[in-house]
Amino acid sequence: MRTKAITRLLFLVGVITWLALVFAEISIVFSISSNLKQELPTWLPGILLNLYILSVFYYFKLRIERDEVLNFVDLLWRVFATGLVSTVISLSLRLLEVLMGSTRLPKNLVFNDFIYLINLGLMIGFLLMAFTVWKRLILYQKSKWLLRLWTFFEVGLLLSLLYNSFNIPVVEWLYGTMFGIFVLTGLVLSGNMKWVAYLNFRQKWTSLLLLLLTIFYLLYLIYTNRTLVAMLSQAMPSMSVLTDYQEHIFILSVIVFVTVYSIFSFLVILFNLPTTSVFEQKLEEVVNFQRISQSIQTEQSEDSVYNILLETSVSTVFADAAWLEVNLRQQNYRLFTYKITEKEAHDIINHLKTHNIKGILEQSSDKTKNLSRHLSSLKGSRFRSILAFPIYVKGENIGTLALLRELPEGFNKEMTKIVSTFANQAGISIENFRLMEEALQNERYKEELKIAKTVQKSLLPDVLEKDDDFEIAAFSESADEVGGDYYDTLRINDHLVSLIIADVSGKGTTAAFHMSQMKGIFHSLAQEDIEPDEFMARSNQALVYCLERGSFISATYFLINTQTKKIRYARAGHCPVLYYSTSKKSTEYFKDKGVALGMVRNKSYKKFIQANEFSYCPGDIMVLYTDGITEAKDGKNEEFGYDRLAQVVGEVQDLPVREIQEQLIQRLYEFSGTENINDDYTTMIVKFK
């Protein structure tokens, strides 16, 4: 609002100063011509003129310079409009003069001076308008240096007004130098035409027309003022014209600058016309690339991204059709086409293939030309040029981007470059989609593993058998999401309880499946009182059909008889039982023969398994475990081992079973220095009472 008020005030000041100028000058001229006493000083009109210039200058500065909405053509239009108005007024004055041709008035000096002042005011207004607009155009892309030069130019011009106002006696050389400097600076500044490049074809034509008319108005106004001054000085030979703009440095410099820049702009736009389409095309390429990268980011469907890619590459190189062939890892072959049927595309691909034409995968443009030549031998095809580029993902060729034109020799080197960029972009898109799919797949796997883990955990018993004769504690942890260790207990009758511990070879989901099979076998076979070796033989027979090649299960099966206080067991390749005997006050490993389940896949397995028997006493401890415990490593790559295990059990043998188990696990963690042991580890401890 304040700027608006100031702008209006400046306009008002401009009008008032001009009126004052007219009044002052005419009264002086009148008094001279009428030989009356002169009351006003002769320097007054000069100062009033400068004040007028100043107010008009700032008026346009405020109106034009701050207006962000104006584009280049709008700016030129403003200049043109001002010129038009000025010229029309000036012309109507001439018409008036012609109409009054016979009267005395046109010969009147005062009247002529009045006409001159109107023309001068109009010209100054027009010049300053153009000056302000040119400033905006020149400073469209500014550098520090350019800004400094312009400030020098503008400030210098304004200072020259001061020089003029005080009517300092004209020193010829100073006047010449100042004028020379301004003209030179104006010329240097006129070299800044960067804005022209941003005009499109239509805008350039409009600008040319506007500039041409502006130049015409400019020349007309200068000419009119010149003739008027000449006429006035002829009529008043006694005294020079009071406000002769031809001695005014500011006006002269601005005239030169504005004219030069107008002509320069006109010529630059004219010569830029033929290359406009190139610039516009480049701009379109940039916009197209932006479109592609945006479409990838916004997670659009694969098809739509490839469609955009094809569409943009076609429009960028003026092709008629395109296809994108993707052959990821020799599987899931896909063909995306644009403005060409799949049949046509396949015809061309097969044609090139059957003629054994190499080069579709090579980036050199010569090879591409060769492709086009071969295309002409394909009958029934409307296409005469082809440009094909391989698509690489991590150095692996996974497809081809091909562009087609109906014109022969339809692609130039520049287009080749652009298409290669599009091919790269296609590679990135394809890789992105693959990665995204992989990430989704991984997420799914993780989810499945979680489910598998829950299932596997549920396979291990929550409650273990209890008896007056013994107590059992068990612990199991797995390294992967899913483990392959298994333990269980089952009561056969009031004096018989069966126990099992097993370790499935391998890890992960497969191991968990085998573990569930083992559980099924255990629960069906251990229902009855069968001998441990018979249990193993039947288990082996059952497992042979489900275990794949190279997989096996190690297990130990126990049958505790609380009536006879005896334990019968069979070991099938599982870690030897650690037994603490209270009578001997020592620990020992039961080393006996036994081949793991699944290793011998015929009836002869029974030969490799044996049943053993021992008696237990109160206080005895039986420690069952998997190799995850004995093979746990410390920082020095040393294993926990059998000796250390036996030693720990010997040290804590008098504790209740739960505490023995806790101590054992704690000692294991202390040894390995971590709770993340890189294997499944399980222990089941039985303490007899």
Partner: protein, 112 residues
């Protein structure tokens, strides 16, 4: 990590295992044995002198060939195992199923 070297001695294929065999490197062991069989060797010696560790997956590889070798009359002898590695074989009962010699000389006698 495992390094596998194969040399032929007196008509037998000697496969030397250097390093550790875990789940992932057991595939290399499988490939080496399969290649030896594919080349028609009837006598295979496996040098375990530099074998530091073998996981259940590695043992599974040996196990998986037992029956095939029996059917095709191929003889395989392992030798030079450290106590620790031998212990792994013996706990699983593989010492019952595979032929294991003390050293190369003994292994060659066993295979002859």
């Amino acid at each position: 990590m495992i390094h596998i070297r194969r040399i032929q001695e007196d008509g037998a294929d000697v496969i030397a295992l250097i390093g550790e065999i875990d789940a992932s490197s057991s595939i290399e062991l499988d490939l080496a044995i399969a290649k030896s069989v594919g080349e028609g060797f009837k006598k295979i010696l496996v040098d375990c002198g530099a074998l530091e560790y073998i996981s259940s997956a590695g043992l599974g590889v040996f196990m998986s060939y037992i029956e095939e070798f029996k059917d095709r009359g191929i003889r395989m002898v392992l030798f030079g195992m450290s106590d620790k590695v031998w212990n792994t074989f013996s706990i699983l009962g593989l010492d019952e199923l595979l032929q294991i010699g003390k050293d190369k000389v003994e292994a060659k006698q066993m295979i002859a």
